[in-house]
């Protein structure tokens, strides 16, 4: 599969691969956690 197709799947929340779905869930958690952290 191409990078574009995989990224589009991620954006649409339509990931079928289990490992990638786990990554997606971890990413969503990290986004929530880090949105209140200012680094500069």
């Amino acid at each position: 599969m191409s990078l574009e197709e995989l990224a589009a799947q991620l954006r649409r929340g339509e990931i079928e691969d289990r490992a990638l779905a786990e990554y997606s869930a971890e990413y969503a958690t990290a986004e929530k956690r880090f949105c209140s952290k200012k680094d500069d």
Binding site: S2, E4, L6, A19, S36, K38
Partner: protein, 372 residues
């Protein structure tokens, strides 16, 4: 107390009975601590490791190379945005760098990262802090790895045959004090400022003052443990006449109507108005900070873009006060956060601009034959 044979010289008391020296001013009452995990959050790295992407014919793949840390969410989002555009991004994170399979060629602009042969066209180093390397502090092996990574990361982020975002060759000297001098030379008002180990004796401007770090806002004494060092009002009752262990910035307090954060992305300026009661609220109480997208006056845009060109910055964030209708320069952040501001303002203009700028620059370099 006297000692026989040495006249009447006072013998200093032993260490154990010396009065305890207070901690540095910027550490007093400072309990901000953030734990940053070295967990890979990079989309492109994930899908390549999982073998989900067409691998190509083995030729070097032109890419954007990022030197950062795992929790750099701006770069994690960039990875997805570039994937959407079909652009390969590869990553070296300081906190995941130990034992990384990496070979960099010196006679060709290529590198092997894990099992991928890559041809970086554009390199962006930000938040690649050596203090994040997961090593035991104070050991020879730890010092060795830090020294090797320091030299190699400096080289990677300044190689002449790769293009760079905010080239470190031009920006590594850009501390807050150099920034103030340059901003004043470009016609921006700056607060009166002193650098001192005696903040209790120093009052630039003669009135209320702010104490700021001369260095970074987050210190990492142990990998992954980030402690905050935030601007605070100078209180003489706390500072007294006790010398600081290291110089700090003491700056005139400038009363202001509001504050601006202006992002420069290429030749664009994108701004947010930031309303807060206390400088440290940005870090310790973000929910209390109001962030609103605003337009930048043309005269200010011209000055900030001129300064960004002078400093060779393509993506950076300026902090300014609005005081009596005038703009007062506070600092520029080379490794800037934009998602924090976008989240508060529910606005994605800076992310969109950065992603578009990086993609356009990459395609420009590819079109110029740099990818061959």
């Amino acid at each position: 107390m006297t000692v026989s044979g040495w006249g009447n010289e006072t013998v200093p008391p032993p260490e154990a009975v010396k009065p305890a020296k207070p901690p540095p001013l910027l550490l007093q009452g400072q309990d901000y601590l953030f734990r940053s995990q070295p967990k890979c959050l990079d989309f492109q790295e994930q899908v390549h490791r999982l073998g989900m992407v067409d691998e190509g014919d083995g030729s070097p793949v032109p890419c954007v190379l990022v030197l950062a840390r795992a929790a750099d969410m701006e770069m994690n989002e960039l990875s997805i945005a570039l994937a959407e555009r079909g652009i390969r991004m590869a990553r070296i994170d300081a906190d995941r760098s130990v034992d990384l399979p990496l070979t960099v060629y010196t006679d060709q602009p290529l590198l092997e990262l894990d099992r991928w042969l890559l041809r970086p066209l554009l390199v962006w180093r930000r938040h690649f802090e050596l203090s994040a390397l997961p090593l035991e502090p104070g050991t020879l092996a730890g010092a060795y790895a830090v020294d090797q990574w320091s030299a190699v990361a400096d080289w990677l982020s300044s190689r002449g045959d790769w293009a760079h975002v905010n080239p470190s060759r031009n920006t590594s000297h850009l501390n807050r004090l150099t920034q103030l001098a340059d901003a004043a030379a470009f016609g921006l008002r700056v607060p009166r400022t002193t650098v001192t180990t005696r903040p209790g004796r120093t009052r630039p401007g003669g009135g209320r003052c702010i104490v700021k770090t001369s260095g970074r806002h987050l210190l990492e004494p142990r990998p992954g443990m980030q402690h905050g060092l935030f601007p605070r009002p100078l209180e003489t009752s706390r500072s007294g006449d006790v010398p600081e262990s290291a110089p700090v910035i003491v700056q005139e307090y400038v009363p202001s109507e509001t504050e601006l954060r202006v992002f420069v992305v290429g030749e664009r300026c994108l701004a947010f108005q930031v309303d807060k009661l206390d400088p440290a609220q940005l870090w310790v109480d973000p929910e209390a900070v109001r962030v609103t997208p605003v337009d930048v006056p043309t005269a200010l845009t011209d000055r900030l873009l001129a300064l960004a060109r002078h400093w060779r910055l393509q993506v950076a964030a300026f902090d300014l006060l609005v005081s009596g209708g005038d703009h007062v320069f506070l600092e520029v952040n080379v490794n800037c956060d934009w998602r924090w501001f976008e989240h508060r303002a529910e606005d994605s203009r800076v992310s969109d601009a950065v992603h578009d700028w990086v993609a356009a620059r990459f395609k420009e370099l590819l079109g110029a034959g740099k990818g061959r």
